[in-house]
């Protein structure tokens, strides 16, 4: 009943409610400052404790030799020197680069195609959107289990059933070092289309329809309109998708853990999986932290690079 919860405010210059005296401006400012700090405090303190402190700890431990049982010992730059010559670590980085370089452009292109086609009145539009998006909403562990079964090396794996129709196989997708990374990339493409499509769809809905109408009057064809209007208008969305996809790609872990455990012969090892092995299987915690710091540096460089390449979200 109280007027305070009523959504429409009284006109600013109307006399305020008679029951409460108008608060003084300075008291209001002080309360605003105090409550700003109070309301922001829990989330800020929590992230300082559980993200800020760990970053500092990771950097500090990266300069130590630490095996969890004995206290950490200062080791200078030894871990970084080890990483520098650690072939397996750089191979893992390379696998991330390959997954990104092949998988992200393909899934971005498919996402753009789907988004363009779905950005109109279409029977069953919602159903298509859901079907393309389901792989993203499903846990990667479950997704990996499904694909583990699809890639089953026997004649009864779905992929081998399909290839059998054209007379190929059966192939041991996940145990052949030449095939395993490709098999992983296919899953990342399939799982990655949905989110990219949603972001493109939202961006397309923000494009002013009058631009297309003007182009129609000028006699532009579909390709011209796509090239001259859609692509430039989607630039901020493309930047956002690229940067989030790159970051997500360097965090691929669940998929590798279930599908291949980095194998066969380390042919699908990725950075996060290598860090996991170094820390929790080999107990070289100092080294694993140095690897984490490198991962962080890679992501920061990627963020700046992709901003330069795509042109960024502001300024133009």
């Amino acid at each position: 009943m109280s007027t305070s919860t009523h959504p429409t405010p009284p006109p600013a210059d109307a006399p305020a409610a008679h029951r409460a005296p108008v608060p003084r401006r300075s008291t209001v400012r002080a309360a605003e400052k105090r409550w700003g700090l109070l309301l922001a405090a829990p989330a800020t303190l929590h992230t300082l404790l559980w993200i800020g402190v760990p970053i500092v700890v990771a950097i500090v431990l990266s300069f130590t030799a630490y095996d969890i049982i004995h206290p950490p010992e200062f080791a200078g730059l030894e871990n970084y020197a080890t990483i520098f010559t650690d072939g397996l670590f750089w191979r893992s980085v390379w696998h991330n680069v390959l997954i990104a370089a092949i998988g992200i452009p393909i899934s971005m292109l498919l996402a753009l195609v789907f988004a363009t086609l779905l950005n109109r009145a279409l029977p069953g539009r919602g159903v298509f959107r859901v079907m393309v998006f389901l792989p993203h909403i499903t846990a990667t562990v479950a997704v990996a289990m499904i694909w583990l079964w699809i890639y089953n090396p026997s004649e009864n794996g779905l992929m081998n059933i399909i290839l059998g129709v054209i007379g190929i196989g059966p192939l041991p997708f996940l145990t052949d070092p030449d095939l395993a990374l490709g098999a992983v990339i296919l899953v990342t493409i399939w799982q990655g289309i949905g989110l990219k499509m949603l972001i493109y769809l939202a961006a397309l809905q923000g494009v002013d329809g009058q631009l297309y109408e003007a182009a129609d009057i000028d006699g532009a064809n579909f390709v011209q309109k796509f090239h001259r209007i859609t692509v430039p208008m989607l630039r901020p969305a493309t930047f956002f998708i690229l940067i989030t996809s790159l970051i997500a790609n360097f965090q691929t872990f669940d998929l590798i853990y279930i599908l291949t455990e980095g194998g066969p012969a380390n042919s699908t090892s990725v950075v996060t999986y290598r860090i996991y092995q170094t820390a929790f299987q080999e107990f070289r915690v100092g080294l694993a932290n140095a690897q984490s710091v490198i991962l962080l540096l890679i992501l920061i460089v990627l963020a700046f690079l992709s901003r330069r390449i795509v042109g960024g979200t502001d300024g133009d």
Partner: protein, 311 residues
């Protein structure tokens, strides 16, 4: 007849359309049909792995050894589900995931909205610094900090037999604290909330202040009800992240009664090895709750991704 149902798919008829030739219109209709066929085929392709999972989960195990295996299971075998439930405590796993996901949703909504509101609407000296910090946090991948977070949890003072210096015991390892607390507030959700509050009218705040409403009252009873869809979006995204989380629960839980469903599936894989009918039944149980939640609340999920992407 089929073309009749396609009529709404055509681009809005512009006034000049009547003047155009029928062959052009037919061409457009053909194009719309081609698009529809393409979309049907490709979305079936996208859904195929899920269909394969569902089909395999009701398959008789003898069919798995048959070559060639009949593509469609010969009979519906729901015992696979009861068998899977008998082999591994999926009910316990699901309950744990539900608790974890619900806690993530509640905590993110409560503290994320508070911080997001303060950053969007309240002027205080540290606001720019806090906002910059949150954005920086979004960029930091969990995998870069997971080892220190694990060490902090393990050395949590006075828990799990630890001394006040955090030594000697196992700290929060294998407790609900470890599962819930470190990831309780996501900087991304704070950012998302800020975006939602930015779109609300500040005049309401000024008016409420004139009415003598407390600052907390303005936040909780006036501004937050305005972003109800946003609350649901954050709750759903947090729930999804909690339900689908794998690495962290894998690292900090060891006992079966704290194991969450994604870790449960991974360990069931060792246990059931080649019993794919059981593995797919288990996987279906892990995947279906999120799929249903998404189908019911699709709009809010989509809003969340769109808002985070474009603004």
């Amino acid at each position: 007849m089929a073309t009749d149902t396609l009529t709404p798919a055509l681009p809005r008829t512009d006034p000049s359309a009547s003047g155009r030739t029928t062959s052009m219109r037919r061409q457009k209709r053909l194009g719309a049909t081609a698009i529809l066929v393409f979309l049907i085929l490709s979305s079936l392709l996208m859904a195929a792995p899920f269909l394969w999972m569902a089909l395999s989960s009701i398959r008789d195990p003898t069919e798995l050894a048959q070559v060639p295996m009949p593509l469609i299971p010969q009979d519906l075998r729901l015992e696979n589900y009861t068998d899977a439930l008998a082999r591994a405590p999926f009910a316990t796993y699901a309950r744990n995931s539900l608790i974890l996901a619900t806690a993530a949703a509640v905590l993110n909504v409560a503290f994320g909205s508070a911080c997001g509101y303060a950053l969007a609407k309240l002027r205080f000296r540290l606001a720019p610094a806090v906002f910059g910090w949150m954005v920086a946090c979004i960029m930091i991948p969990f995998y870069a900090t997971v080892i220190p977070v694990f060490l902090m949890v393990r050395h949590m003072p006075l828990f799990g037999g630890n001394s006040i210096l955090g030594a000697g015991g196992t700290g929060w390892i294998d407790t609900w604290w470890a599962l819930i607390v470190p990831g309780a507030i996501s900087p991304f959700m704070v950012f998302l909330f800020r975006q939602f509050y930015v779109t609300t009218p500040s005049e309401l705040i000024e008016a409420a202040r004139l009415d003598g409403v407390s600052e907390f009252g303005i936040y909780a009873r006036i501004m937050t009800p305005l972003i109800k869809p946003g609350l649901l979006t954050v709750a759903l995204l947090s729930f999804e992240a909690g339900w689908n989380n794998f690495l962290w629960p894998l690292l900090v839980t060891t006992s079966d009664n704290l194991r969450v469903i994604q870790v449960g599936i991974a360990s069931f894989r060792q246990e059931a090895s080649t019993d794919w009918h059981l593995l797919m039944a288990g996987t279906t149980m892990a995947a279906v709750p999120m799929i249903i939640l998404f189908l019911v609340f699709q709009r809010y999920f989509v809003d969340g991704f769109a808002a985070s992407g474009i603004k």
